[in-house]
Symmetry: C2
Subunit: 410 residues, 2 copies
Amino acid sequence: MSLIVQKYGGTSVGSIEKIRNVADRVLASHRSGHQMVVVLSAMSGQTDRLIALAREMTDDPDPRELDVLMSTGEQVSVALFAMAVKSMGHDACSLLGFQAAIHTDHLYGRARIHDINVDRIRRELERNRVVAVAGFQGLDEYGDITTLGRGGSDTTAVALAAALHADMCEIFTDVDGVYTTDPNVCPKARKMDVISYDEMLEMASLGAKVLEIRSVEFAKKFNVPIHVRSTFTQERGTMVVAETKDMEKVMVSGVAYNKNEARVTIKRVPDQPGIASRIFEPVFTSGIIVDMIVQNTSEDGLTDLTFTVAKPDFYKTMKLVSETAKKIGAEKVLGDEDIAKVSIIGVGMRNHAGVAKKMFEILARENINIMMISTSEIKVSCVIEEKYTELAVRVLHEAFGLDQAPGEEG
Amino acid sequence: MSLIVQKYGGTSVGSIEKIRNVADRVLASHRSGHQMVVVLSAMSGQTDRLIALAREMTDDPDPRELDVLMSTGEQVSVALFAMAVKSMGHDACSLLGFQAAIHTDHLYGRARIHDINVDRIRRELERNRVVAVAGFQGLDEYGDITTLGRGGSDTTAVALAAALHADMCEIFTDVDGVYTTDPNVCPKARKMDVISYDEMLEMASLGAKVLEIRSVEFAKKFNVPIHVRSTFTQERGTMVVAETKDMEKVMVSGVAYNKNEARVTIKRVPDQPGIASRIFEPVFTSGIIVDMIVQNTSEDGLTDLTFTVAKPDFYKTMKLVSETAKKIGAEKVLGDEDIAKVSIIGVGMRNHAGVAKKMFEILARENINIMMISTSEIKVSCVIEEKYTELAVRVLHEAFGLDQAPGEEG
């Protein structure tokens, strides 16, 4: 007998009928002899409804009270789900954050899980009950309700799987797995059978949003195998697991892109120690997250500094940097919103030389100019003109052999 | 500085605007120097919405899970209320049943409060916070959510007032107090300034529904003064307090009626020991509540037994009693749904002779036939034909001097 943690997202529990289907699905696993812990999100639409209520009350709702309000969404889901299971003749029990003893810090709206006391859950499982745990919520040291932020139910599921030493954490969602790239951009995108935690982290942070990134970090830390799959089919999805030797045979596992960044360039900055920190200090202080940073080698004591930020932060960043530029005597500040970041990801890069070079050649062959380059151990990212995004994704996908399943002849 | 517990019902918090008004009202008291504990019901309509969700899931929702579901209604109210208070520049804090340590038995849907640990509430009050407590909900010994049943927020408020030794418990509702009788039936009905717990219990159980009956029992037990008043005016309402000598000067305080009962008569029952228990055993076993029971003196070894039940239980009762009647050799069973119970209530009856006689005379003067009579220390109830209800209420109201305020000349 194994212990399985399953998580169902908002669209999977978006109606009474859908909750009933989830109950059917959970009971199928239960009948196969597995102990079942099920984490549920709020029914789709409910989170938005609750936020709208809060905004109607005040522009700036108190964070503690917002969490009290928001956590009712998952509470409704688990109660209805447990009712469904019981009406089907099986025993079940819903547990809220405080009952499942999910202890967090007290950063309302984006709390982090410290620890979980699984005694109560174990007791309910021993009574042969299906245990439904409200996702997204926890309890801080003062006994107050916290929430983990958007996508937090993924983290709840993985954290529970880790704490319970579960055999598997299955994340049910409205897509059927993790793809080699966005199928909307590249029709030849393939569902991956398996991906490493590190690759998944790069994929997620680069815009291929299937799993909440913190849940992947959690899974990596505690080595929890995750199975990402569709609620609406019986198909096998994608396993997210620790890296194996086998994975390294493939040079590139996926191609990601992100159109939500903008580029800021400061021309002819006096190249002195401490200049970068002077430029970025006001940006960081404003809570703006900077992604890529590139600084050219200085020739004449003046250098160009380029970096990217999320598009919504672009105007604010331009304002802040222009002020600094004036103070430090830089020539001018240029901005560009029409950019995209295209990345290739794969643990195989560690053992394959020339992956970056091949990427540059492929892009050059299509006359796509590379504006910025950034590399890590398992990825290479290039900033290009936005209009070339789809073309770049497709040619990289083909050139790195992702159009064919591993083992197929190209 | 005094401590005041206020309770606002569903219509009082039925919209964001109304919750804001409640916050204004609470802060006015707070500014006068009072410590404020505010108990809120679910926004009107929400309880019905949640019940509808549960019924859509299954005809017979699991009671434990139903309580988990239902308790979200009050959770939403207290979170929004606390946001409102904070947006007005004052400190506030919502507490759910588990946080306010409202301990109950585990009778889901109709739990009774065992005790309340007020440490957390006191701590929040000492920090000069307005404390908003979710009504209607508690926690049982297993750490599971319970609800107290319809009207349970009144009980939450009174129980908190008792546990906190509050100076006052104010129940805000959509009526402005307790009336001498139903103003819809008798235009001369007057709002009472004061009523004793016992009178209120008789009024409530007889159909004048302003306060949940258990909350009055609680208030009586712990001697909590209750002020029933309107959310929508600043008028003084009705004080519900322990009996005083002064109250006894008035013979009759109010006239109540109940059209929701039906009458069952078993004719010519063999008058033997144990016969009543044989008749009522199947009725009680079915959970049917019997109100008045009248048995005539036996003359020829055969007696008539008459009792009343709530109208929705009438057909089931007739079926059960008819079966028993056959077995015990009674002549026949008669039923009548077109009846009403009219009652006069007043602690003054204890010291005034002839109150019942006067009631019978007044009804006789109008040619209203009395079918059943039942008396207690502080009330007299008569069952009459339903069509005479309004007439009976009006003539009793006038004849016992209730048309005029105490002290006015009649």
